[in-house]
């Protein structure tokens, strides 16, 4: 029997195409593949925030898109809207707003959220209509698949997939183990 294992290392290095919080010099880089409409990602959101505030410059956080568009009807547009926000330098503001308002991600509401965080709403509407950022979202997705992402949220700590739970204690312990 020939057996092959999914590659559980990050195949796409963190780079200019990424949305990054924290310095490149941080000893730990946490990469999340997430879906804005996925309730589990919604649960992971405050956990990551808490770890970021506790660890400060010791943690670099990267978010990549992994929308399951056939299960979550708003996930694709939410991801594209966050990318549109990135074009206006407000990716993280939009990212946070989307997770904090996860229960209502209709197009209208996404555009309202965009206005609230100070983004030109018309540009977001246009980008959604033209699917300007679909390709970028898709690239994140396929890169994730090649790295063995099989659902959301999927975390990689310093390039190695975190297969354990992402509850606060477990994720914190795994990160601290790499921070030494």
């Amino acid at each position: 029997m020939r057996t092959q294992f999914s590659n559980d290392r990050l195949t796409i290095e963190v780079g200019d195409h990424d949305h990054v919080q924290g310095p490149a010099s941080a000893p730990v880089t946490l990469v999340e593949y997430g879906d804005y409409q996925c309730p589990y990602c919604g649960q992971a959101y405050p956990i990551v925030k808490r770890l970021q505030s506790e660890m400060g410059d010791k943690l670099r956080f990267v978010f990549r898109n992994f929308p399951l568009t056939q299960v979550h009807e708003h996930a694709e547009h939410a991801a594209e809207a966050a990318e549109a926000a990135a074009a206006q330098g407000k990716f993280w503001e939009m990212h946070d707003a989307l997770y904090e308002n996860q229960k209502n991600l209709s197009d209208d509401h996404i555009v309202q959220l965009a206005s609230k965080v100070g983004i030109d709403a018309k540009q977001v509407t246009d980008a959604l209509g033209a699917h300007t950022y679909r390709q970028k979202v898709r690239e994140d997705f396929i890169g994730g698949v090649h790295s063995g992402v099989n659902g959301t949220p999927s975390f990689f700590i310093n390039g190695v997939r975190h297969d354990e739970s992402y509850d606060y204690e477990t994720l914190r312990a795994a990160i601290l183990a790499k921070a030494k």
Binding site: M1, R2, T3, Q4, F5, S6, N7, D8, R9, L68, T69, Q70, V71, F141, I142, V145, H146, S147, G148, V149, N150, G151, V160, D163
Partner: protein, 250 residues
């Protein structure tokens, strides 16, 4: 002996879990064949060993064989594959290079699908244990998202389980799945058995992937832990390898 060694490695949390699952089986088997895979992250090597477990009353007795020497330095995930009563089934999981057995199964209350109808295109055959279970849902949802990518290889993805057509129909509707789910329902598990991925004790198929090339030959196969979502990296790599091979051949 080997069990002891594994037990000392960092797989410590996984092996007992696997062992519990085996020893909790109450199907009256006399001899159970078990295969463990140990994946070593550091050098991408796969080690495996297999075991025959004999039951005596409710207490399993085990004999273990190792394929590779296993040191306590090894770490990683374990995979299991269990076969039912018949240890002679060992080795019957269809391997690359073998012609994929043809079959015809119902894909809906009114339609049938025959594997060989896809001759000329690669086929991704996804055996999964059951409709509605959470891991299956995620796994099948992932392949659903990847249909455009499979299409770049002209590949057709097909799901297959022992569930009946009506279950498949509702499941596909609920998850918005855009590829056929075949009912290996009657005689139950017949196709899974022919591919060597039927679990007799549980009466369901294993979670197994086969990538079949355009000539109907198995190019790649993978058996996952029932609780593991195997993702799609291996499938895409296999499809890519087929495409590369064809390019070289032409």
């Amino acid at each position: 002996m080997i069990f002891q060694l594994i037990y000392e490695t960092e797989s410590i949390t996984l092996i007992p879990m696997v062992w519990d699952r085996i020893s909790n089986l109450r199907f009256g088997f006399k001899k159970l064949f078990v295969m463990y895979y140990i994946y070593q992250e550091t050098n991408n090597k796969v080690f495996y060993f297999h075991a025959f477990i004999y039951t005596k009353g409710n207490l399993p007795r085990r004999t273990l064989y190792s394929q590779n020497p296993i040191s306590s330095q090894q770490r990683g995930r374990t995979m299991t594959h269990t076969y039912g009563n018949d240890p002679s089934q060992h080795g019957k999981v269809l391997q690359p290079g073998i012609a994929a057995p043809d079959f015809t199964l119902e894909s809906s209350p009114t339609d049938k699908v025959t594997l060989s109808q896809y001759r000329g295109r690669p086929v991704v055959l996804v055996f999964y244990p059951a409709d509605w279970s959470p891991v299956c849902g995620d796994q099948l949802a992932l392949y659903n998202e990847l249909i455009p990518d499979f299409e770049q290889y002209q590949a057709q993805v097909i799901g297959i389980s022992v569930d009946g057509v009506w279950s498949h129909q509702e499941f596909a509707k609920a998850r918005n799945l855009h590829y056929p789910l075949l009912a290996d329902f009657h005689p139950k598990g017949e196709v899974a058995k022919r591919y060597g991925v039927y679990s007799e004790p549980e009466g369901i198929s294993d979670r197994a992937l086969f990538v079949i090339d355009k000539d109907g030959i198995i190019a790649w196969s993978y058996i996952a832990n029932p609780d593991e979502n195997p993702g799609a990296a291996g499938i895409l790599d296999a499809l890519d390898a087929i495409a590369q091979k064809e390019k070289q051949g032409s």
